[in-house]
């Protein structure tokens, strides 16, 4: 149910600002708790990581500087199956989740060695176990016969997987609406005014009120945060992605740089560039991505590219998520991360529950994700 509300006020228990993957997961989780949620989102053209990402549900290497991040990532990967089932069952949309393990393919021995060292260090920080494997070219070839001869090897993460991120977005909208949630494409929320026991949101299309407000506006959180007393030091980091035509299945596992979708298209990525708010593509970076992909899989050389795009990641100074309630205005929350696909199940589950009920799952170490860590 979409509403284009014009100048008349609407009100709800909880307002979620930003209808990307993070916002919709949070909204779905809270709506499921029986509270009336409205998601406010922009129109057709906006900065949206959720429409430009790589679709990995990725565990290996996540949280090498923060064990709590490793834990929530693994928790989310574990909860993902349930989320996918719920979405498919209630919306009929197959979001194509596969969690059969994933590979990070390295082109040189030194790349492979440093990755191995990083994973070993992480394993040491997780005494309950941190599964991974290091494969040389020979072992890798047994898994993927098509691997190129110039590849050094790969690291294997049994908990890794991938999903169709666009169908995920569509299914989240459908599921959220089926539970009675409301999605309002009212353009940018330009102002949030904290009142006594309420917040008033202002946008081009009118004013809306709510008891709680959750900021999930991605890069938009930077300007929204201070309106409710939260500093959100998010900044953009561009990734360019290539997509090639549908081919018969040849790649059973997602890799950090190349994955084959269920439709058969081949996605190759992605760069990490500090270029401000520019979502464009550049020929030299795309050529490098293609070069890496065809070195990994030489049989891709004659496969045609169909599209490329640039999208902005939402980064924090240490790369880890921020989950935080405003101290100044307690009904206001901020949620942001740079792996919103992977963390979708955690957001729709324990994080949404925490916002809805005030009770945090002890498995999550919520205080580790407070933005105050940046003010040291």
């Amino acid at each position: 149910m979409t509403e284009s509300v014009r100048l008349n006020r609407g009100s709800s228990d909880v307002a979620v600002i930003g209808g990307g993957l993070v916002g919709l997961c949070i909204a779905l989780g809270i709506q499921r708790q029986g509270q009336q949620v409205t998601v406010y989102d922009e129109g057709d053209i906006a900065l949206r990581a959720s429409r430009g990402n790589f679709g990995l549900v990725w565990v290996q290497g996540k949280g090498d500087n923060l064990p709590a991040y490793t834990r929530i990532t693994r928790l989310s990967a574990k909860l993902w199956g349930g989320l996918a089932e719920d979405l498919t069952q209630h919306t009929g949309i197959d979001i194509q989740l596969q969690q059969r393990g994933g590979l990070f393919v390295c082109l040189s021995e030194s790349e492979l060695n440093s990755r191995q060292q990083m994973l070993e260090k992480m394993a040491a920080e997780h005494p309950q176990g941190y599964p991974f494997d290091v494969l040389d070219l020979q072992q890798l070839r047994e898994l993927i016969p098509e691997i190129g001869p110039e590849v050094a090897g790969a690291t294997w993460g049994p908990e890794d997987g991938h999903v169709n991120p666009l169908y995920l977005l569509r299914a989240l909208v459908a599921r959220f609406e089926s539970l009675g949630g409301k999605l309002v494409n009212a353009g940018q929320v330009s102002n949030i005014i904290p009142k006594k026991s309420q917040f008033v949101l202002q946008s081009e299309q009118g004013e809306f009120s709510c008891n709680k407000v959750v900021l999930t506006a991605g890069l938009g959180n930077k300007s929204l945060g201070p309106m409710v007393g939260i500093d959100a030091p998010v900044f953009p980091n561009r990734g360019q992605v290539l997509i090639a035509e549908r081919v018969k299945p040849f790649l059973n596992y997602p890799t950090g740089h190349v994955r084959q979708t269920v439709e058969g298209t081949v996605q190759c990525g992605d760069s990490k560039e500090d270029v401000g708010f520019d979502t464009g593509t550049t020929t030299d970076v795309l050529a490098q991505i293609a070069h890496r992909a065809t070195t990994m899989f030489p049989l891709l050389k004659d496969v045609n590219l169909i599209r490329s795009w640039g999208a902005l990641r939402i980064m924090t100074p240490d790369g880890n998520p921020v989950y935080q309630q405003s101290e100044q205005y307690p009904g206001a929350y901020l949620v942001t991360c740079h792996s919103g696909v992977t963390l979708a199940a955690a957001h729709a589950g324990p994080i949404a529950d925490w916002i809805a009920t005030g009770i945090a799952d002890p498995a999550i170490d919520l205080e580790k994700f407070h933005g105050s860590r940046f003010q040291l």
């Binding site: 098509e146 549908r246 018969k248 040849f250 058969g264 030489p298 049989l299 891709l300 004659d302 496969v303």
Partner: protein, 106 residues
């Protein structure tokens, strides 16, 4: 290939003929014409099936904007037949669904 689908050739200026193989059958085409023209002259229909539903398609626009003329040309799958000129000895087959990935001689 069915003769009753074949496009007819009007009286043309002298052009060299090239022999090509379409779906295993040897046919003659005119030097300088496109693969799409040659297979329509030969009466081939459909020239591909889609990777989505498997339905049949044939060249639609002849100017490179619809991508319904994708065929396997000399081992290279998903090639636009309306943008490719015939060459002596060319081997052309129908593109069936999604392309092979290891078949192409890179």
């Amino acid at each position: 290939m069915a003769a009753d689908f074949s496009f007819n050739r009007l009286p043309c200026h002298e052009r060299a003929e090239v022999e090509i193989t379409v779906e295993g059958q040897k046919i003659f085409a005119l030097e300088g014409e496109t693969v799409a023209a040659a297979v329509m002259h030969a009466g081939l229909r459909p020239t591909r099936t889609t990777p989505v539903s498997g339905s049949g398609r044939a060249p639609y626009c002849m100017m490179g904007v619809c991508f319904d003329c994708l065929m396997n040309i000399d081992g290279k799958p998903n090639t636009q037949a309306c943008m490719t000129e015939v060459r002596e000895g060319m081997v052309i087959t129908v593109q069936t669904g999604a392309r092979e990935v290891s078949g192409g001689d890179v």
